[in-house]
């Protein structure tokens, strides 16, 4: 059991509407993990993040950071890039970054040094004296990213980090995120674009209408939603596959097939049946569902996972 950097216990947040935006949410975010907070727009992700970043307080429940109750002083340990990004348009890049870091609690000198090294690192020293409004959108995003990470937070929260990014900046940010993760930073991604983070995340939580539908490691989440669907890759006549008892063909191409078997099918028995076929099978594996499919299944109220 890895140590949890952040623990949310039974968090509830209600705005003026009758339905709570966050409804009894409990989550554990392991130290050093890349954690995906996933759900459609309006699921309560941003409300949740605002409580973690101390922008708002929960109506009930508690947030623990390394086992201790979260206090406003902890914001220095957190770097947050909101979905709605912005900077002071008329401020110069360097001044602006130093200002934002000082607000995180860094001394001026320290903030200046950090900003300098980050500007060097992303190779944008030349912009230091430029006003934000003179920069292109892509440049502004880099500055925004520096503002989020330059104080070396232990926890990085990125809300829809790739929205509005061009491919080059997406790659750059992805690389930086991996580098930070390698250094031990805990990272929370919040997005409704599940396919974007699937490869990045260690652990995920699926959220809908203020409630947690599922929290698990990515691998386990996918495995626990496995139905008895198998994918086949083969050479020969695919029609042979129809001979497997109980099989229901979902998809069939000249070289591949997706076949569902009834619940309770003995996989060893299945393997024996397959070996009897007059077909050269080059791959045979359990089909792992995509996060998107899991989510849709959960929202539709399909059979709960084991």
């Amino acid at each position: 059991m890895t140590e949890n950097f952040l623990q949310l216990r039974n968090l509830t947040k209600r705005y003026s509407t009758a339905k709570p935006a966050v409804d009894g949410v409990s989550l554990s975010i392991p130290t050093g993990s890349i954690y995906g907070l996933l759900g459609p727009n309006g699921a309560g992700k941003t409300s949740l993040i605002r409580m973690i970043t101390c922008i708002t307080g929960p109506d009930s429940g508690e947030i623990l950071i390394k086992g201790k109750s979260l206090t406003p002083e902890d914001v220095v340990r957190i770097g947050y890039m909101p979905e709605e990004r912005g900077l002071y348009k008329k401020m110069k890049v360097f001044e602006q970054l130093v200002y934002l870091l000082r607000l995180k609690g860094l001394a001026r000198k320290e903030a200046e040094n950090k900003v300098k090294s980050w500007l060097d690192r992303l190779n944008i020293q030349d912009w230091a004296g430029k006003e934000i409004r003179e920069l292109s959108k892509g440049m502004q995003q880099k500055v925004q990213f520096i503002a989020t990470v330059a104080h070396e937070p232990e926890l990085l929260i990125l809300d829809e980090p790739f929205s509005g990014l061009d491919p080059i900046n997406t790659q750059l940010i992805e690389d930086e995120i991996r580098a930070l993760s390698a250094k031990g930073t805990t990272i929370i991604f919040s997005t409704h674009r599940m396919e974007q983070v699937e490869e990045l995340c260690d652990k995920i939580a699926l959220i809908n209408q203020g409630k947690v539908l599922l929290e698990d490691s990515l691998q386990q989440a996918r495995e626990s939603f496995v139905k008895n669907i198998f994918s086949f890759r083969f050479y020969g006549d695919g029609e042979e596959l129809r001979k497997i008892p109980g099989g229901k063909i979902l998809e069939m191409t000249p070289t591949e097939a997706l076949i569902e078997f009834p619940e309770g099918t003995d996989r060893r028995q299945l393997f024996r049946e397959i070996s009897k076929l007059d077909l050269e099978i080059i791959r045979f594996e359990l089909h792992l569902p995509r996060l998107q499919e899991i989510f849709i299944q959960l929202v539709k109220g399909s059979p709960a996972h084991a």
């Binding site: 101390c54 922008i55 708002t56 947050y80 909101p82 990004r85 912005g86 008329k90 607000l103 609690g105």
Partner: protein
Amino acid sequence: MHKVWTIIEREYLTRVKSKAFILSTLLMPVLLGALVLIPILSATHVGEQKLTVYVLDQTEGIGEELKSGDGITFLPALYDEQIQKDSLKPGEALLIIPKIFENLSGRNTAPLAANEKLSLGLKRSLTDRLKEGTRRFRMKRLGISREDFELLNVGAEIDETTVGAEEQLSAEVASMVGYVMSMLIYFMLVFYGMFVMRGVIEEKANRIVEVMASSVKPFQLMMGKVIGIGAAGLTQFIAWILLFLGISTAVSLIFGGGGASVSGADMAQARDQVEMIQQALQAFNLKMILLFLFYFLGGYLLYGSLFAAVGSAVDQETDAQQFTWPVVMPLIIPMLVLANIIQNPNGPLSVFMSHFPLFSSNVMMIRYTATDVPAWELAVSMLLLIGGFLGATWVAARVYRVGILMYGKKPSFAELFKWIFRS
């Protein structure tokens, strides 16, 4: 706490370094100075325009009593009225003194035809010379000597003192000082309040506010902005006072001593004006300045945070109007009854308004200059103002912390109330 300082520092420096701030700081005293200087200059520099006046004298001798000077030369008319009029060249005029001027009473009118429009100063000087000439004519007729006339020219003034009062200001000067201070506070509150509002809207529109909110508490953000901009206002204020003092000292050095070289009633009037301003400036003792700063700051903190709350509730400046009027109204109301308060500084309206926190920052300074406000009344008014701004800040902070993170729909007043009273 040090985060609030960081915010104050940024808000202050961005304002103070802006071109608009520097320009308005420098231009305002120049404008005020011009208001004082222009009448004086127009009175002294009459001589710059030369005028030859042909006098068609229909009386028996007034024309001879007219004295040339200040660029005005009187000459007897050479021809009859029509020909003289037709032959006027630029810088020439024809003055007709009708027979009626011989009457020893009444106010008479003399027609003047000029080739071009006369300046105000020239016309005044000409009028004074005609009056003086007529006076000398009448003195001769009545047999009054110059000495006798001087005896008749009675000079008397009233020097008013309020028993037991520290201030010894004439009512005129007092009301002027009070009026100017009240107007200044009013303008500064509206001006800098709007600055605060615009700043908040800008942060919302730039979407930086959520980044900020993840580092500092909304209350810190709001107070940092209000105080930073207030400090910029105070800086401008002090700069104005210093510049104005400098200018008026210069004015009094130039015109106060050297005034003897210029004669005429206008100059006397201008000197009076300068004297009155000097008297008013002397009236600024330390206590008054401290009171003024207190009421300015108290009022500013009260209204500044309310303006911040208004800014937080909307996405763009054009949407703000609906919410600004409830904030601006209580600022305007005292301005509407200002004259009333100056005339009747101890009436029930004045007493009420100088205690009610929404009005007191504008009204108390007028009352203080116009009458003796008992110390306990001052104390109550100041305490109420402190309470008022604490209350306003509380209300504003509650609207602000919800408002800054709300985008899209413009809230209704009912929703604003909900924000205030929700836990």
